[in-house]
Point group: C2
Chain length 499, copies 2
């Protein structure tokens, strides 16, 4: 078989696998948004079947044979070409996939569905005991997965590699150490109570009006509602079902405007990335983000760097005030901006401000590493969790629901996922800083409701690049420097010390 | 291999196929309810892939081999046993499936998705020309399908067999002829204008309150909202994603209470059937309805026999009146009941009353038979359609949107589906008549809001029977007589001649 023919066959195989995965994505979207409770057992069977089919395809020996034909041929000679990138990434994915036993994959999907349900029950009852057996199973399966796919230094490397390819435990630990050392004192210093009218954002914000405002903001930012939608779910997320079908789910709170709104900006950031990916590459790595951390950088950039800026609110605050006049009539733009840029340590990641947020992530990363290695028995998680919160944030969760049961990630089998949030924050600040300089200051455009300059920069440097480079390389290429926490620390320092 | 082992393997295969089909069902549900417009191309790919996978499984030669081992063994000796029923039906489905070429199946799924989109566009533009090329393609593919699976007298037999197994064109024609002969004069006689306050149902009925009322009625009828849900869609439907996950979609109209409400009752009727099927048989024919006509009988029974009865409204009318007091304060229960039981010939099937309804169906059945046989060129459909409406109902659609473009069935490739609606009406009246006699009159219970007696009768005689018998046989067993239009004509005569 000729290389061109082999590449065409590979494209067909990969595309079919992506279409199949997109069916599974819709099942997940539905599970989070609309599925009735009684549907959970069948959903577990559906997810297991899809996982099995996907694995079967992903580990199809034909992939290996076809890849061998293209690799080393003239077709893939230029490592920067689309073909070479696709071949490189397909090989990487295939090598991981073929080492995973099908039983483990199917069982993983089943355990994830039931585990997620058990976690919901456990959280409702504020009782870790209800979830513990599932988490134990999930940790054991994560170890089996790591052992099956292999790793260089520690099993956690294998976990990370699934979400942030190329990033090692050692590198993440180093980046996080630099951040932690500066954040702990910063939190302590900035969380001294200031005289801010924060209570106004806890007044009445009717959900239907929040939705109208949110949709208008999403559209202004560039999110195309003909090629996507925005729903509500108890856990916000964004998923791309396919080109032209990017779905966001958020959660509005009647008496907490900021909570719902910044989650919306966050998910729209993900959505803009998905809508910015070149549909011509659908089904191939050039049509995918290189890592979750890079995907997260886009959500964080819009949520924090854009959404907490003065320019953004110069444009939107008058509109906001007219929509929620009864709740916002007595707060100025300046006070509003201070309120949304203030530090308030608490036990909850989802409600955390931008400064404390990364400490929540560092706690989770450290604890999951310890559970995976066996240093921390799963049964001891609640105690270790609370201890870490006291140490890093000086807060104590009042029960497991407020503590180690607050996030659903582990219940869905996602170990090694949490670090990507903070990597996203690091990348986001670094990218925004560079875009701002390249574009000669973006806030004046924001103040006119114009986000097209920034979006264009991101489309060009990030969204359209697919998996051409690893996240780390792409950030370095776009900004001229390897990822470092400095721009993030600098931006926090600037925005949270508004005087 | 021993018969028991072969049967176990068959069960696994069939169940897996059902789970896969349920993924496809969710894709369809989503397409009708929430999918953004931009998702249509990927959805077509998803549906084609799923159709291909399903066909691959449904025609897997292992089915044939395993069936041969069980057939004729002691396991299947009693033809009334679950095993024998499952084997009989799996064989029937397998024989159809294995004769269908995979290309035709996949292409059919693709054409259905695009055809449905073209139909929406055509209807919006009231221009049959936009849809014509797709309908031509769909008719050609239906012929190919009939030729592939074979038929006894006419290609339409093969089409019917997919929706109403065992029913032939000849039998349907005979049943419909009996109905038509009596309905045409009945419509003429009953549609003389009466002095009824029909306009009150076109006053203001806020959709949110309609939804609350609808959900309360659905629950009272026995629909379990923990194991199902009710959404809105531009085309109402009910789909069972799996045991415990039965989904209804309806469409409320602010200024047409009856339209939305009777559609709801209809879909709840389907939903009650799906929720009444024994989950232990999930994945096997004993866990499925034997035909669409029988499924439809359940929706029609609740919509018409129950929902238009005096007893039903003796219970619900006071509640309805209190919810929509401003619109219903000046209408009595008696007048309300006459309004919902009145004959008003019009061009639209979806808005048709119960008496004219079956003439709409007979028109479609005759026209699709003519298109399939080639007697009616697709290009001539609009003219033939309008001619039939003048002849049977004395009405003339004002354009194609109001005429031959009003239904989406053909656009999704469903030829031979329409007759099942009228078969459903025939079965429904016959079943209700018998249940009423067996239970010593059901309306007095309805008047107390109690539908459990009727639901119990249906659960026992129909829902729990799965595919043990064909629809025709099951109706005969439950009522003591072969299906006949007489009970339907009698019930129409009684309810629509209220004096």
């Amino acid at each position: 078989m000729q290389p061109a023919e082999a590449y065409a066959a590979l494209t067909t195989l990969a595309r079919e696998e992506t279409v199949l995965a997109s069916c599974s994505d819709l099942l997940e979207w539905d599970e989070e948004t609309f599925m009735p409770r009684g549907g959970v057992e069948n959903r577990a069977e559906q997810m297991a079947l899809m996982a099995g089919l996907l694995h079967e395809r992903g580990s199809d020996p034909r992939f290996g044979e076809l890849l061998s034909i293209v690799e080393g041929s003239d077709l893939a000679a230029d490592p920067a070409s689309d073909v070479a990138v696709n071949i490189r990434e397909l090989r990487r994915e295939f090598e991981r996939e073929r080492l995973l036993p099908r039983d483990l994959v199917e069982e993983g999907a089943r355990v994830a569905t039931f585990g997620a349900q058990a976690w919901v029950d456990a959280r409702e009852a504020a009782d870790f005991g209800v979830f513990r057996p599932w988490l134990e199973k999930i940790i054991v399966m994560a170890r089996e997965e790591a052992d099956a796919v292999g790793f260089s230094e520690t099993r956690y490397d294998a976990m990370l590699d699934d979400y942030e390819p190329g990033m090692t435990t050692r590198e993440v630990t180093a980046l996080f150490a630099g951040l932690k050392a500066r954040l702990i004192p910063m939190v302590e210093e900035l969380s001294r109570p200031a005289d801010l009218p924060a209570h106004v954002l806890r007044r009445e914000f009717p959900v239907d009006r929040q939705m109208l405002f949110a949709n208008a903001v999403a559209a202004a930012m560039g999110f195309d509602l003909e090629r996507g939608r925005i729903d509500t779910a108890s856990h916000p997320f964004c998923t791309s079902i396919g080109p032209g079908d990017v779905r966001i789910a958020v959660r509005y709170q009647r008496r907490n405007f900021a909570q719902g709104f910044f989650v919306l900006l966050h998910e729209v950031g993900h959505g803009l990335y998905d809508q910015g990916i070149d549909a011509a590459h659908y089904g191939m790595p050039m049509g995918e983000a290189p890592s979750l951390g890079l995907h997260e950088s886009q959500s964080r950039l819009w949520e924090n760097q854009v959404g907490r800026s003065l320019g953004f609110w110069e444009h939107f605050f008058p509109r906001l005030k007219s929509i929620f006049h009864e709740s916002l009539h007595d707060i100025s733009l300046d006070a509003f901006r201070r309120v949304i840029n203030r530090v308030t340590p608490g036990p909850n990641r989802g409600r955390a401000d931008e400064v404390t947020y990364n400490l929540h992530i560092i706690i989770r990363s450290e604890l999951e590493q310890a559970m995976l290695s066996g240093d921390l028995p799963v049964a001891d998680l609640p105690g270790a969790w609370n201890e870490a919160y006291r140490k890093y944030l000086s807060v104590t969760p009042k029960n497991d629901a407020e503590g180690c049961l607050q996030d659903g990630h582990w219940s869905e089998g996602m170990i090694g996922y949490f670090p990507t949030y903070t990597l996203g924050n690091i990348y986001a600040a670094q990218l925004f800083d560079r875009a701002d300089r390249d574009l000669g200051g973006v806030e004046s455009a924001f103040a006119k409701g114009d986000f097209s300059g920034l979006l264009g920069w991101l489309r060009d440097r990030i969204h359209s690049q697919g998996s051409r480079h690893s996240a780390r390389e792409l950030v370095a290429l776009a900004t001229g420097a390897a990822p470092t926490p400095e721009p993030l620390l600098k931006s926090l320092d600037t925005r949270y010390r508004i005087t």
